[in-house]
């Protein structure tokens, strides 16, 4: 971890790509990590650690509250899933983190390196400042010279070490024949030290050693804030792995063997267990089951599949084991073709230039021209090389972008800290700025505004006997609809009927006998009923020939309703897009009060829809979770996905929502607007200081004292202004 890290946002999208190739290295001692978005106090820490330590496989557990995660040392055979289960039982929402991504030695080292340089620069700046105060308050002659020499002795090695990042960046920019912020910074530091040394050698009055150091210190502080925010977000986003490992079970000679997906060839037979995701496109050669296509298409209703049917990668097998023969592997699978949509869409977003970059583009040449003009003007007017050089150095130091360097990182750190406290992880550095421009919000339905887990809607129409039979039958299946019945029955306190011979026919339903009558729960067609309705339903046969229909509907995610009304109150357009059929989409839209909805959309249709909005000059925020949304997430101006979303969707989005509740999205929008306002305020503050101080410097009236004052006060004002955003979490 980057040291001193509180909480963080922002990473580069490039670093988030391609987590699928990461094949986990077996560790001697399993090092597991879980993200716990809901922990917030010392009681949570104690509960989490105690619950984990009570588990026999756990050797040590340590909570990191700042990052809202727990690190677990456990026996080699312990799994993160098992630990997440322990956490759920203890009442905490938990997500697996990828242990392979935990050796973030690189991001770690970068942040620590900056902090080290920051400490050295701060130490040297304070000591030199101490000596400078003596000079400013009137030390003369030999004393002043001695103080200047001591300052030089501290400054030179300190700068040689701590200002290296600026030197390196400036050098690489110059080699590429570009100008960036670091070029004027480097020039100012080098020029200030060189003229000060010269002045000291000639027993001159003014030396800028303290200014050079203070400059380095403030700028390093900005860089460090930036790096910290970036690495915190990057590691967190990287670690939130998909729940499935990129592995498959290949059948060879009747035995299942676990291999990496990349080793699969066309024609291989693959076993897909219930609950697992199909790793490849293929044809079912054995078994019958129901599959959940929601990640690919957004359909809530499971689809029945049996021998001979095709199945595409990414579909989740729900009930019975399936054996598939691979017809397409690797980059040919439909899953991968969706990822290709992302690559195309993403190129559009990189066109956005951040406020900081725009400021730097104006700033760097301006400063150089100003200082060169001051130098030339004085050289022509006075003909004195020493005076002219001193003035050029003073101009560079005073205009140097201390406040500008802090203006953006200080605000983004404060804003993303506040949003992290509310359960939002900002992955991309410019996400806040883009979020502030949003005027249209597009939601995906399944898994985003709905939870994707159904609930029973007509429970009360069943009589007590039917309820208890349904409960008993539903116990025998892991099918989501059966699970919904179990949940409802437990909630209403139904006692299960005594059932014999409970059996599940994968893909159809469960059967059993109650007091010698055959009872069935399952697909309506299987039980012998043609349902006209297209909604989610299953049929219950209690033996008496009377068949009851149990209907279900998808649950709305908590906070979705208030979020939509908040967004509408903020004057934003809200649109619901889904690959699901018209009826459930319209139903959800009217429940949430969303005016515009479009159903039956293919992934490419979603991208097209979002792009059409963008071409209209709208700034679109896309909120989605499925693979079918990834293209649209990448195409949108800015995008958010929940932590439960699939890897590809999270990688394509700028912001990850850690909790279950959708509510924080509205906060994100208001905070983003506030943050952008603060950033431009900060630019204005920095400019005002320059407007006051630059004429003094050009006129040759600036002293090291004035430079120090201007630099410190502007940096402080900018940081304090940024802090106003933090507020109460």
């Amino acid at each position: 971890m980057t040291a001193l890290s509180t909480n963080g946002p922002a990473a580069c999208p490039g670093c988030l790509a391609a987590p699928a190739d990461r094949v986990d290295v077996p560790l001697p001692d399993a090092q597991l990590a879980l993200s716990l978005p809901t922990i917030h106090c010392q009681a949570c820490i104690a509960t989490v650690e105690k619950a984990l330590m009570a588990h026999p496989q756990v050797r040590a557990a340590r909570v990191n509250l700042t990052r809202k995660r727990v690190m677990i040392d456990a026996d080699p055979d312990a799994t993160a899933q098992g630990m997440a289960k322990v956490m759920m039982d203890a009442g905490f929402e938990a997500h697996e983190l990828d242990p392979a991504a935990l050796n973030q030695t690189q991001t770690d080292a970068a942040g620590r390196d900056l902090l080290m340089r920051l400490a050295v620069a701060g130490f040297a700046a304070m000591n030199v400042m101490l000596l400078s105060v003596a000079v400013w308050s009137g030390a003369t002659d030999a004393t002043r010279d001695m103080f200047h020499w001591i300052s030089a002795a501290i400054t030179l090695p300190a700068l040689a070490f701590s200002a290296q990042p600026f030197f390196r960046n400036a050098w690489s920019a110059l080699r590429a024949k570009r100008l960036n912020m670091d070029v004027p910074i480097t020039l100012a530091i080098v020029l200030a030290v060189a003229t000060s040394l010269w002045e000291t050698g000639l027993s001159g009055k003014h030396a800028y050693f303290d200014a050079a150091l203070a400059l380095t210190f403030f700028l390093l502080a900005g860089r460090w804030l930036d790096a910290r925010a970036r690495s915190a977000a990057r590691s967190a986003a990287e670690e939130l792995t998909a729940l499935e490992v990129p592995r498959a079970l290949r059948l060879s000679g009747g035995e299942a063997q676990e291999i990496s997906i990349s080793a699969l060839r066309v024609g291989d037979q693959v076993l897909v267990r219930p609950g697992a995701r199909a790793p490849i496109d293929g044809r079912i050669v054995e078994g019958a089951s129901e599959v959940d296509r929601s990640a690919l298409t957004g359909e809530t209703m499971p689809v029945f599949r049996q021998t001979g049917d095709a199945m595409s990668a990414g579909e989740v097998n729900l009930t019975g084991p399936l054996t598939m023969e691979a017809t397409a592997v690797g980059t040919d699978t439909s899953l991968h073709q969706l990822a290709a949509l992302v690559a195309v869409a993403e190129s559009g977003r990189s066109r956005y230039t951040s406020l900081a970059d725009r400021a730097a583009k104006l700033y760097a040449p301006g400063v150089h021209i100003l200082s060169a003009l001051a130098f030339l003007g004085w050289l022509i007017w006075s003909g004195d090389m020493r005076v002219s050089l001193n003035i050029a150095a003073a101009v560079l130091i005073i205009t140097c972008p201390c406040a500008l360097g802090l203006a953006v990182p200080a605000v983004t750190t404060a804003a993303s800290g506040r949003l992290f406290g509310k359960g939002l992880l900002i992955k991309n550095a410019t996400a806040l700025e883009r979020l502030a421009q949003v005027d249209t919000v597009v939601f995906d339905k399944t898994g985003t505004v709905t939870l994707g887990t159904p609930k029973v809607t007509n429970w009360d129409t069943l009589n007590e006997n039917e309820k208890s039979v349904a409960f008993a039958l539903a116990h025998g299946s892991a099918h989501p609809l059966a699970q919904a019945i179990v949940a409802k029955a437990e909630e209403t306190g139904v006692v299960p009927a005594p059932l014999d011979g409970l059996r599940e026919r994968p893909g159809f339903g469960t059967t059993g006998t109650v007091s010698e009558a055959l009872v069935k729960l399952g697909r309506p067609e299987w039980i012998g009923l043609e349902t006209g309705s297209k909604g989610l339903c299953s049929a219950l046969d209690c033996g008496g020939g009377d068949i009851k229909i149990i209907t279900f509907e998808d649950r709305i995610r908590p906070g979705a309703e208030t979020l939509v009304s908040d967004l509408r109150r903020q004057g934003l357009d809200v649109i619901l897009l889904s690959g699901d059929r018209e009826m459930p989409v319209a139903h959800t839209a009217s429940q949430l009060g969303i005016g515009t909805h479009v159903s039956d959309m293919l992934p490419a249709d979603k991208v097209g829809y979002v792009e059409a909005l963008l071409n209209d000059g709208r700034h679109v925020l896309m909120v989605g979770d499925g693979l079918n949304d990834t293209g649209a997430l990448a195409a949108a101006h800015v995008s958010i996905s929940p932590a439960q979303a699939l890897d590809a969707a999270r990688a394509a989005s700028d912001i990850v929502l850690l909790g279950h509740d959708l509510g924080p999205v509205a906060d994100a929008l208001t905070t983003a607007r506030l943050a952008t306002k603060r950033i431009s305020e900060n630019f204005r503050i920095a400019t005002i200081y320059n407007i006051v101080a630059v004429p003094l410097a050009v006129a040759g009236m600036a002293t090291p004292l004035i430079a120090a004052l201007a630099m410190s006060t502007s940096s402080l004002t900018v940081s304090l202004n940024a802090l106003r955003i933090g507020g109460r979490k």
């Binding site: 971890m1 509180t6 040590a60 990191n64 700042t66 080290m116 400490a119 000591n127 000596l131």
Partner: protein
């Protein structure tokens, strides 16, 4: 003014000690979880010696 000949080295030394101290805390990862460390003092469960690894 002769007092400066040892006051200045002393002040630099003391400042240097602070710097070394900071670098030590940085290297021993004491800034990994500032928020958690601040809360842990409120916990009833404490140990009287460091955990032996």
């Amino acid at each position: 003014m002769n007092v400066l000949t040892y006051l200045i080295p002393v002040s630099l030394l003391l400042g240097g000690l602070g710097l070394v101290g900071f670098l030590y805390t940085l290297r021993s990862r004491q800034y990994d979880d500032p928020e958690g460390d601040a809360r842990r003092i409120l916990s009833d469960e404490w140990d009287d010696k460091p955990r032996s690894d």
